[in-house]
């Protein structure tokens, strides 16, 4: 066992970048293959083999409430940024914003979108404008619908708390890169707003997400908005590719467990 372990450690130490690069290269054709498959399923009109996500159903309900009551929903894109390590979570938030923007434009609702990073704010403004433009209502778009509250997470949380407690909103959607400041915003939102859908990827924040939202998006579920709400083939294909990669990783872990147990 020591020889196997030391061999594996030696291989990893010397060729870790190459191994990671190989895994990435393996992921590219996998992604393309499943994207094509998802596209074929969508064109054929067949049901997608995706499990039910109550969070997205609640999102649709929040938008319907917004249309009926005239109250806008609040969409928080998190305290992350575009261009650093939290880019993926911020992109997930943008992918969630896109279909919600389409729905808002169709209903004539102006959502209140908040961000803690200026780059993310600009990207969100672009998304919202695209949604209104596609509806032929570009004149209805207001760039002040997307607000930069503050770059610092605590200040962002304070601003968001004020907004949630003062403004009449139809619901609160929080998805993106959050730290512990999430809890303060979510707690106010849970008591003040009728609907609250929240998602985070950091395991340290997930307990807060669980207690403040009745339909949370835990971990990688936050990255599925493009597949469930947007019905984009590349996102659906990504889910299939992730599942297969997960199976591969599980097999590797099981193999390691087996080797460790066998050799004591």
């Amino acid at each position: 066992m020591e020889s196997i372990q030391s061999t594996l450690t030696g291989i990893w130490d010397s060729a870790a970048p190459a191994i990671m690069g190989a895994l990435l290269l393996l992921l590219v054709p996998t992604l393309y293959f499943f994207t094509l498959r998802a596209r074929a399923l969508l064109r054929a009109g067949k049901p997608l083999p995706l499990r039910r996500m109550p969070a997205f159903e609640r999102l649709s309900r929040a938008m319907d409430t917004a249309a009926e009551t005239g109250r806008p929903p609040h969409i928080s894109l998190g305290t992350g940024a575009v261009g650093d390590s939290s880019t993926a979570e911020s992109l997930a938030a943008l992918h969630l914003l896109a279909p919600l923007s389409q729905q808002a434009a169709a209903y004539g609702v102006h959502p209140v979108v908040t961000a803690a990073d200026a780059g993310l704010m600009l990207a969100a403004q672009d998304r919202l404008r695209q949604a209104f433009r596609q509806r032929g209502q570009e004149r209805e778009y207001r760039f002040t619908d997307v607000q930069l509250i503050a770059p610092e997470p605590t200040a962002y949380a304070a601003g968001a708390m004020g907004l949630l407690s003062r403004q009449e909103l139809s619901g609160n959607v929080m998805a993106g890169a959050f730290g512990e400041e999430y809890f303060l915003m979510a707690e106010v939102g849970a008591w003040k707003q009728p609907e609250q859908v929240a998602g985070a990827a950091d395991p340290g924040v997930l307990p807060f997400v669980h207690v403040t939202s009745e339909a949370p998006l835990l971990g990688e579920e936050m990255f599925t908005a493009g597949a469930y709400l947007g019905k984009w083939a590349s996102h659906i294909g990504s889910l299939f590719a992730q599942d297969w990669m997960r199976v591969l990783l599980i097999l590797i872990i099981l193999a390691g467990m087996f080797l460790a147990s066998w050799h004591g």
Partner: protein, 205 residues
């Protein structure tokens, strides 16, 4: 061209920075570092636009007398105060005036704000347990055992609580966290790949 050019630029830049991580070639390292520096500079300019947006939103709030408009006045005044002090001080943001504001205003405010977490947590737990009773029983049990293992009272009652706490932290909690982290890592990787391959274009129509 309007759609192709941003996509090609994003793909090329992303791939060069990625290759820089894997290989150690002189000019690729240089280009990778250059692109990262440019990203930092662009983020600074984006911040200017963000501050402008902040001004416009709050001015509008003051002008239309929306709820909470006095806070908008306070925000704008404090923003200008710190900015002007930082510009006027010869030492810039490290000057005495800005440091005084940080030490006696920002520091205590931030610390006090986060202290609210403890109070909010109690009400959150109460509300969560009222809503869903079944699965939260394990939540309550784990929380009580971990607290007993952390406090001196638990140690005074029984030494075994520390071991139980360690087991809960290292086995079920950590295992669940790792599973989530693996899933998140896969999602993050694929999100990045979609961006690099030009499949996702959040920057273009």
């Amino acid at each position: 061209m309007k759609r192709i050019l941003p996509t090609v630029a994003a793909m090329v830049v992303g791939i060069i920075v990625l290759i820089d991580f894997f290989v150690d070639v002189g000019y690729i390292n240089l280009m990778g570092r250059l692109f990262v520096d440019w990203a930092v500079i662009l983020a600074a300019f984006a911040l200017i636009l963000g501050v402008l947006n902040l001004f416009l939103v709050h001015f509008r709030r003051i002008r239309t007398r929306q709820k909470g408009w006095p806070y908008s006045i306070i925000l704008i005044l404090t923003l200008w105060t710190v900015l002007v002090l930082g510009l006027l001080d010869p030492a810039g943001p490290q000057g005495q005036s800005v440091r005084w504001i940080f030490q006696y205003v920002q520091y205590p405010l931030q610390a006090a704000f986060f202290a609210l977490t403890a109070v909010f947590l109690l009400t959150a737990i109460y509300r969560a347990f009222r809503l869903q009773r079944g699965e939260n029983a394990w939540f309550i049990l784990a929380g009580i055992l971990v607290l007993l293992g952390a406090t001196a009272v638990g140690g005074w009652l029984w030494d075994g609580f520390a071991s139980i706490r360690e087991w809960i932290m290292n086995v079920p909690a950590l295992a669940g966290a790792r599973g989530i982290l693996i899933g998140v890592a896969l999602a993050v990787t694929i999100t990045g790949l979609r961006l690099l391959l030009g499949v996702d274009r959040p920057y273009a129509e």
